[in-house]
Amino acid sequence: MKAAYLTTVVAALFCAASLSSQAAGDPVAGRNKNSMCAGCHGIPGWRTAFPETYKVPRLGGQHAEYLVSALKQYKTGERNHPSMMAISASLSDQDMEDLAAYYASSYSGPSK
């Protein structure tokens, strides 16, 4: 009886652990997905298009949670910017988490 109970508890813990690692972002995966982002956010001094020109915001070291919420807001249209809306439309929730983790950590290690 005790062994069965213990097994259940351990199994439950494993399930919980694997669940959280899926939801959390993987910066290495994020690095592999950022080809659409680097073109604007990775070039020093790059500006947005006319008529409102301002520098594309720096993402390095920003809070991952904030980046995810921003991407989600672009996806729903709550936040309005043509390029960002188009790009975030193609991102899954996992993509967003991975990209956010990559930028938050300023990960610069090897890509897989």
Binding site: R31, K55, G61, Q62, H63, S69, S106, Y107
Partner: protein, 108 residues
């Protein structure tokens, strides 16, 4: 132009006036940032994950964001309340203050 002396004088006058009508003043921005610090941290390095870090962000992007909150183009219940009392100069000064801080980078 016939009179080069007056041209030089005019150019000099314009050049000297430039700083006065330029962008924001970081010193003034620091004085105005006490309310902002509550959420965004004293130097813009927000400790709370849902409030973005401002330290080291591009000055013109910060100014653009504040303007967007003020005009309602960008909607956020907290921020729209905060910018209601900010003048154009206030927004420029705050942007200048946070842009000078060390924080966000473009090295990924």
């Amino acid at each position: 132009m016939k009179n080069t002396k007056s041209m030089i004088g005019l150019a000099l006058a314009v050049a000297l006036a430039m700083p006065a009508c330029a962008g924001g003043n970081a010193e003034a921005g620091k004085a105005k940032s006490t309310t902002c610090a509550a959420c965004h941290g004293e130097d813009g390095n927000s400790p709370t994950a849902s409030f973005p870090k401002l330290a080291g962000q591009h000055e013109d992007y910060l100014y653009h964001s504040l303007k967007a909150y003020k005009s309602g183009k960008r909607k956020n219940p907290i921020m729209s309340g905060q910018v209601a009392n900010l003048s154009v100069q206030d927004m420029k000064d705050l942007a200048a203050f946070y842009a000078k801080k060390k924080g966000l980078s473009q090295k990924y």
